[in-house]
């Protein structure tokens, strides 16, 4: 599939959760493209569906949730049609995911080394077949992974348990485990939200560095537009289960097309805005149960008109730019 520069292509993904109040359309017709070697930022608030979208890609949506429709193509193969066993093989080896909370995502009863070896043992195909040679190779590779993510004296720390590491170190360890099998795509779900700024900077730089070195693609799920601005090539803004805007990071931030993106950028308090009023987006995210097929930002949009009370599709608004707003005119692109 070398002719295809797209590593991941999600098309019309709908993931729903059946709850006692009704069906929640958590992800409602989402398209995602991740190109080889790029870092895609996915921005949204809680309830935007950004995490569920990528849990769906990983095949990790559990009851009461289910993928209702859509295709998820990874290197041309549709992941939604794979058996659980085939999916397990892809998960970890080709695509891996790190979670926001490293403390709960790591197994407290196993040492860091054991968790790394488990991952390598299951997915690494370059290792010797069996026996002592395999064990030694796994150990060496584990040490190398910890060194890669910047953990001092990795050889001795391999035998420690997750609770013996600080928050930043645990996040690094989770990244090491995710990277151990050499995946083509790393999905990092809020990797730095739980961390202090100085540590956050370290972890994000680490991810960027490793991405450059290994040539993999990264999806960075975050609520922080600053993080996206500094680390991502392209950005996708999600709101209430839909993508509302996407494009090159620089373009989206300097010239946002969707009122939600504009609002989000306007709500970030900044030193340079001291003394001036910030313009927060009014109201809150709508309840996702039984939403009519209208623009989902309608209730909070400062520019809403009656025309917004219909289904609004994504429009091309420039080269490689798309946004979901009725006020924008569709541009013809070749």
């Amino acid at each position: 599939m070398s002719h295809n520069e797209n590593l991941l292509e999600v098309d019309g993904l709908r993931t729903v959760f059946d709850t006692s109040e009704g069906m929640v359309r958590a992800v409602d017709g989402v398209d995602v493209t991740v190109r080889r070697g790029e870092c895609l930022g996915v921005v949204g608030e809680s309830g935007s569906g950004k995490s569920v979208t990528f849990s769906s890609v990983m095949g990790l949506v559990r009851s009461p949730g289910r993928i209702e429709s859509g295709s998820i193509r990874f290197e041309g193969r549709d992941l939604t049609r794979l058996s659980p066993r085939e999916m397990r093989a892809i998960r970890g080896r080709d695509i891996s995911m790190t979670m926001q909370d490293a403390l709960t995502a790591l197994n407290p009863a196993l040492t860091v080394g054991e968790q790394l070896s488990e991952m390598l043992d299951a997915h690494d195909e370059d290792l010797p077949a069996r026996g002592g040679a395999r064990r030694r190779a796994i150990r060496d590779k584990s040490v190398e992974m910890l060194r890669l993510v910047g953990i001092p004296s990795p050889d001795s720390r391999l035998d420690q348990y997750p609770h013996e590491f600080s928050g930043g170190m645990r996040q690094r360890i989770m990244i090491a485990i995710a990277l151990a099998p050499g995946p083509k795509l790393l999905i990092a779900d809020e990797p730095t939200t739980a961390l202090d700024v100085t540590i956050q900077a370290q972890v994000l730089e680490l991810i960027s560095e490793i991405r450059a070195r290994l040539g993999m693609s990264v999806v960075l799920i975050t609520h922080d537009l600053g993080v996206v601005a500094e680390h991502c090539d392209r950005v996708m803004v999600m709101y209430a289960g839909q993508v509302v805007e996407e494009g090159a990071t620089v373009d989206v931030i300097s010239n946002p097309q969707h009122p939600y993106t504009r609002g989000l950028l306007g709500s970030i308090p900044r030193l340079s805005l001291r003394g001036k009023p910030i313009r927060p987006i009014q109201g809150q995210v709508p309840n996702l149960v039984g939403l009519p097929p209208q623009c989902r930002f309608y209730s909070r949009c400062p520019d809403r008109t009656e025309a917004c009370l219909q289904f609004v599709e994504m429009r091309n608004v420039g080269s490689d730019r798309r946004a979901r707003c009725i006020a924008l005119t569709q541009e013809e692109v070749a």
Binding site: V197, A201, E205, H223, L225, G226, A229, L271, I278, Q284
Partner: protein, 345 residues
């Protein structure tokens, strides 16, 4: 320090030490119980109508400091004067009356509201505790009025916290803090748990209420953008100590302490991605159980010299009201110029 004759809050040499319980077995074995100096000899003041931003990373003692000021955690040493009165010396009864005047808004809008109480009970509690309303009807009326002010309404009176979103819960917490018309509020990371668009709503609400009700804030946050946006002065904390303090424009435009400098450089910036230089601090916050000797920042400081390992620096004034505690202050260095990566561990 340029303090007026009568600041609303004056904190002098405040310390808070947490000590482990000395068990008999440990005493026999000669083991010392652990002790953590969460706040170490901190002094500052807050003027009437001012917002003092207190910034620092987790574990630096900023929340403990906020609570020690209110005597929610009993200070180990030092004095807190509120409007001239020594809060640290108040009797239990006098402290209760003082609580009407000094309030706190908490970080976690989920944990800070009693899940089994209605909004009317939660927000009306201060009225009942301080005898500010005579009848139940009066309580409800006053609660309804403050709810309207913070963006909720009377229809919410009989609902329970779990029926609200995070932002709405934070509004309930603010209503509770304000209903007794206090003069001073400790805002302990009030927006950290909220979504970006909701954060902005709450910040705006807090600023509006401050002007309307003539409030004074001690605003605690780990977010430099938030602190920079809304505070008049900032204090930067590291491992229980204030390392730099001064007018916001001064401190954030021209940070002098290497820690403040690296903190600022670590914040991702939407406006100028990648434009500013990055100081990468090596290592992490040392354990407060075993803090470094000398200057507490020396283990991570790119500018550290031998003197930093031996002696703790004394705070010096570098501009009117701008004080910094650093041995290398006189040399006027900045961590960006050295180009060195930190790491004298």
């Amino acid at each position: 320090m340029t303090s007026t004759a009568n600041p609303l809050l004056n904190v002098e040499n405040l310390s808070k030490v947490y000590e482990g319980r000395q068990s008999l077995a440990n005493r026999l074995a000669g083991v010392q119980p652990f002790s953590v100096r969460a706040v170490n000899d901190v002094s500052f003041h807050v003027e009437r109508g001012e917002v003092l931003g207190l910034i620092g990373e987790s574990g630096c003692g900023k929340s403990t400091l906020g609570r020690a000021v209110l005597r929610l955690h009993e200070p180990t040493a030092g004095r807190v004067r509120f409007d001239g009165e020594d809060v640290t010396a108040l009797s239990a009864g006098a402290l209760k009356d003082m609580r009407r005047r000094m309030q706190i808004v908490f970080q976690d809008p989920y944990a800070s509201l009693n899940p089994r109480s209605t909004v009317a009970d939660i927000v009306g509690l201060p009225l009942r505790l301080h005898g500010l309303a005579r009848t139940g009807a009066e309580v409800r009326e006053k609660v309804a009025r403050i709810l309207e002010r913070v963006g909720l309404n009377a229809a919410h009176l009989d609902r329970y916290p779990h029926q609200f979103s995070g932002g709405q819960r934070q509004r309930i917490g603010i209503a509770r803090a304000l209903i007794s018309h206090p003069e001073f509020i400790v805002c302990d990371e009030p927006v950290s748990a909220l979504d970006v668009s909701i954060q902005a709503q709450i910040i705006q609400l807090l600023l509006e209420l401050k002007d309307e009700m003539g409030l004074t804030y001690l605003f605690i946050s780990h977010d430099i953008s938030v602190i920079g946006y809304l505070s008049d002065r900032v204090a930067v904390m590291y491992l229980g100590e204030i390392v730099e303090m001064g007018p916001t424009d001064d401190v954030l435009a021209r940070p002098r302490h290497p820690y403040t400098q690296s903190l600022m450089s670590a914040v991702p910036d939407v406006d100028a991605p990648g434009k500013h230089q990055r100081v990468r601090l090596a290592g992490e916050l040392p354990s407060p159980l075993d803090p470094p000797k000398g200057c507490k920042f020396h283990t991570r400081c790119p500018l550290a010299i031998d003197a930093c390992k031996r002696e703790a620096p004394v705070s010096e004034q570098v501009a009117p009201g701008h004080q910094v505690a650093c041995h290398r202050l006189a040399e006027d260095l900045s961590v960006w110029e050295t180009g060195a990566e930190a790491g004298t561990r």
